[in-house]
């Protein structure tokens, strides 16, 4: 046999052996739809404090939720953590999540958890209008998001119609105010010829530089850019009073039904709802803590001041209807 070939075969055999190895089975498996950059440090803290090992699969929220659904009654995950209430609501409706105990659920206001107790929010985010404070004072802004359909905003606005967070906002708008209201608002904004951006960050940067006067985004992009000194003159306007312009959504966590490590999984959920993790969300990712006793970052409003309790967040999952609407209006 040619010596090269032997090396190749030996190498392949080695790779096969490596491929056959699987990890230890004592660790709690987490399917995380939030990236390692955002929640990795939190998981590390949990491992250090409790001595419980975590195996974490990072991916897209819908993919992770989909994996839990497809595994069905042969689950490999113990805990599911996703970006949107809509995704985790679907998994709960399929009966794949265990009911959490009241002691855990009661830490969070009813608006930010499942009515049947199968998932609970861990951190919140609000829609805002970010505006250039060098060109505009807060009093120049309309009191509700409807005011931006006024022709005086023509050519001055920015949005990201292809971005998931914008589409989630439109979905919520449709649920809260009805199809017709959502359609009228979108058509009114479109008539003002907003500039389209690919994502929230690029909108905040453009507003900060004064390329546009105002844009529709999630709140924390401004705070993250500001912490790096890149926000320029951009500021956030929160609408409150249940205006769809400041809709709140939460990322949610649930314990997978039939998972092998239920007790340790419960400790992880408890940790995520604990003061330390909630402070991490407030200070490091500039999200809104869902536990009322933990204060948001001083520049942020308390989540309870923005919420509309009658909107059930896990029902906000008709993305297809939103894409259809945006397509019909010629926005996508």
């Amino acid at each position: 046999m040619h010596p090269n070939r032997r090396i190749v075969i030996a190498l392949l055999a080695l790779m096969m052996v490596g491929a056959g190895c699987s990890g230890d089975s004592d660790a709690v498996t987490v399917y995380s739809g939030r990236t390692a950059d955002l929640v990795g440090p939190l998981f590390e803290t949990f491992e250090k404090q409790t001595g419980i090992d975590l195996k974490i699969r990072y991916g897209d929220s819908a993919e992770m939720a989909g994996a839990v659904l497809e595994e069905g009654d042969r689950p490999r995950a113990d805990v599911l953590l996703v970006q949107d209430a809509g995704n985790i609501g679907q998994v709960a409706r399929a009966g794949r999540l265990a009911t959490l105990e009241p002691a855990l659920l009661d830490r969070v206001p009813a608006a930010f958890r499942a009515a049947d107790g199968q998932w609970v929010g861990v951190s919140g985010r609000a829609r805002v209008v970010t505006y250039n404070s060098a060109k505009l004072a807060e009093v120049d802004l309309p009191p509700t998001i409807d005011g931006f359909t006024d022709p005086r905003w023509k050519g001055r606005l920015a949005w990201a119609p292809t971005n998931g967070s914008f589409q989630a906002f439109v979905t919520a708008f449709r649920v809260m105010e009805g199809e017709l209201a959502a359609q009228a608002w979108l058509a009114g904004i479109k008539a003002n010829e907003p500039k389209a951006f690919p994502n929230n960050t690029s909108i905040v940067e453009a507003v900060g530089r004064g390329e546009v006067d105002a844009g529709f985004v999630n709140h924390y992009y401004l705070n993250r850019l500001a912490s790096e000194g890149k926000a320029g003159a951009a500021k956030n306007k929160y609408f409150g009073n249940g205006d769809p312009g400041s809709l709140v959504n939460v990322s949610g966590v649930g314990i997978v039904e039939g998972g092998a490590h239920a007790a340790h999984a419960r400790r992880l959920v408890e940790f995520l709802l604990g003061d330390e993790a909630q402070r991490y969300f407030a200070e490091k990712t500039f999200e809104l803590p869902v536990v009322p006793s933990v204060r948001a970052d001083p520049v942020l409003p308390q989540i309870t001041s923005l919420a509309r309790p009658e909107v059930e967040l896990s029902k906000l999952d008709d993305a297809r209807g939103t894409v259809d609407l945006l397509t019909r209006l010629g926005i996508l």
């Binding site: 392949l12 491929a19 990890g23 990072y58 994996a67 995704n87």
Partner: protein
């Protein structure tokens, strides 16, 4: 005699035997016209090969089986409503028009690039041979981001042109951008198949044509090009199916296609059944495309090649440097633009956030899974290709079609199908590297089948007969006679699957061991949060690793 033939044609030593072939479905032609209708292979039963091919086909059909199971949940009425809705038809038309435009462009670019790099006196031919294949290694979402940052409304070109008074570039988002990004990342499929076919083509017909007074242009048009048709069709098939299944480029460039709608159905509302119905429609369309390609192929006459020898180099004369310049422009657009974009991200981000150890670990994971996956795909392709080349018939035709099932579906659909079967049936394998290897087999089997089938078809069955008559059994014949002759095709198939697998995303995210990241998953994790600087290093490393098999093939064949 058998031994001598195998040594001579064994690409490693034997001249034009293998070629930087990476030969996908390239079908060589005999310079000697076949006497009458094609000779049917000896009616030999091949129970082992047939069984193996059927098993492989069954595995390849798992995603379709999953889709049927899911689609049944919808019920026939609503499913038909969904399939026959105006929206479905409109999106299908959009997908098909994009696939047609991308495929046409890939052919227009890919054929000349293949012809020039396979055998001409173009300057820098070897370097161009490698560089023009490399765009395959650029993930389509990276290609799309590069197109946006370069040609977009606030991109590099716009900034350069602004001082010259150019206010606005043509609209990039939509059809134009998706077409550009996908054409630039898929034309090497055509280049590679054409290159492989040319390098195995017997030059005698061209020589005859010239001796009859045809100039080089007329010879190329009337003799060379018709012989290339099956190779072009094979490359076009891979391009068309890739475009139909692509999600990364069309979503970033905002062109609403059928695949994008399947993703929205899934990602927005986790509507597995609705997504399954739509995916089945896409599978049916893809099957039609596969059948169309098979028709083009079957009209071509295939005969066993004689011992190959080198073609005469295409003399370009005063066109040497202009054609080289044209190829450099193509390379710049398809490869240098994405690489330059990545380098810009890297320099803007600085060394902060660059986790070198983690990136190297991810690179070794990527190389491991892609190499083993490519090996599995080629091994699984062997019985399917052998059956198709040596025992054509109903079984061969359907096992070959089944092989394409996974390739034409969106990656997410295939990955979720394998989560379903993995968690239930292949329990010990699920969430190991082994599962990822199975996924790559299912996803990329057609690339292996195409390359092997055409190479096996080149080997005369009479060599098998000779071996058998000398007392060797079927296994020994395969090992001692067939495999050495087919090896160049197998190596090329390996390289192609490797290139495609290393940039694959959904399977890597869903099926590999938990907590086991690859270069592709690292690129995704960073870009999805807008940390482009952190995505640059793994993306560049991914392209660099992909270059290795190409350089190896170039050095091996091009002497």
């Amino acid at each position: 005699m058998v031994e001598r033939t195998s040594v001579r044609s064994d690409g490693a030593g034997g001249g034009a035997g293998g070629g930087l072939g990476i030969a996908l479905g390239d079908l060589p032609f005999s310079p000697v016209p076949d006497p009458g209708p094609r000779r049917a292979p000896a009616p030999r039963l091949a129970p082992v090969t047939t069984t193996a091919a059927v098993v492989v086909a069954a595995v390849a059909l798992l995603p379709l089986l999953y889709l049927v199971l899911r689609a049944r949940e919808v019920g026939l009425g609503p499913a038909l409503d969904l399939v026959l809705s105006e929206r479905t038809v409109r999106l299908l038309a959009r997908s098909l028009s994009l696939a047609a435009a991308v495929t046409a462009t890939a052919v227009v670019i890919g054929v000349p690039v293949g012809v020039l790099t396979a055998g001409s006196d173009i300057p820098g031919r070897r370097v161009l041979t490698v560089l023009t294949a490399l765009p395959l290694a650029v993930p389509s979402y990276v290609a799309a981001l590069a197109v946006i940052t370069t040609f977009g409304p606030r991109g590099t070109i716009a900034r350069w042109l602004a001082p010259l008074g150019v206010e606005q570039l043509p609209e990039l988002y939509g059809f134009a951008g998706a077409w550009l990004a996908l054409s630039l990342s898929t034309f090497p499929y055509v280049t590679l198949t054409v290159r492989g076919a040319l390098r195995r083509m017997d030059p005698a017909l061209e020589e005859v044509s010239r001796s009859l007074g045809n100039g080089p242009g007329a010879t190329f048009r009337r003799v060379t090009l018709p012989q290339l048709r099956p190779a072009v069709a094979a490359g076009a098939l891979l391009t068309a199916l890739y475009t139909l299944a692509d999600f990364g480029a069309v979503s970033l460039l905002r062109y609403d296609t059928f695949t994008r709608v399947i993703y929205v159905q899934y990602k927005g509302s986790l509507d597995r059944s609705g997504a399954a119905v739509l995916a089945l429609v896409l599978a049916a369309v893809s099957l039609a495309v596969v059948a169309a390609e098979a028709r083009v192929r079957s009209r071509a006459r295939v005969a066993s090649a004689r011992t190959p020898r080198d073609r005469q180099l295409l003399r370009l004369g005063r066109w040497r440097f202009p054609t080289a310049a044209a190829l450099v422009i193509v390379t710049l657009l398809a490869l240098a633009v994405p690489v330059a974009t990545l380098v810009t991200w890297l320099t803007e981000g600085g060394p902060a956030g660059l986790d070198l150890a983690a990136t190297v670990r991810a690179a070794s994971h990527s190389a491991q899974a892609s190499a083993l996956g490519a090996l599995a795909a080629v091994a699984a392709a062997w019985p399917v290709a052998l059956l198709a080349a040596r025992h054509p018939g109903t079984v061969a035709r359907w096992t070959e079609r089944a092989a394409y099932a996974g390739y034409a579906l969106p990656g997410l659909v295939v990955a979720l199908a394998l989560v379903f079967f993995g968690a239930r049936v292949a329990t010990p394998l699920y969430q190991t590297v082994g599962m990822l290897i199975v996924a790559y087999l299912v996803l990329f089997l057609p690339q292996g089948v195409g390359a092997l089938r055409s190479t096996i078809a080149q080997v005369s069955p009479r060599l098998d007969d000779a071996s058998r008559s000398l007392g060797a059994g079927p296994a020994k014949t395969a090992r001692r006679v067939l495999f050495p002759l087919v090896r160049p095709g197998a190596v090329a198939a390996f390289a192609l699957v490797f290139l495609t697998a290393i940039k694959e995303l959904p399977a890597a995210l869903l099926l590999g061991p938990t907590g086991w990241d690859t270069l592709a998953t690292r690129v995704w994790a960073s870009t999805s949060e807008g940390f482009f600087a952190r995505a640059a290093a793994p993306a560049l490393l991914l392209i660099a690793i992909s270059a290795l098999p190409l350089v190896y093939l170039a050095l091996r064949d091009d002497h």
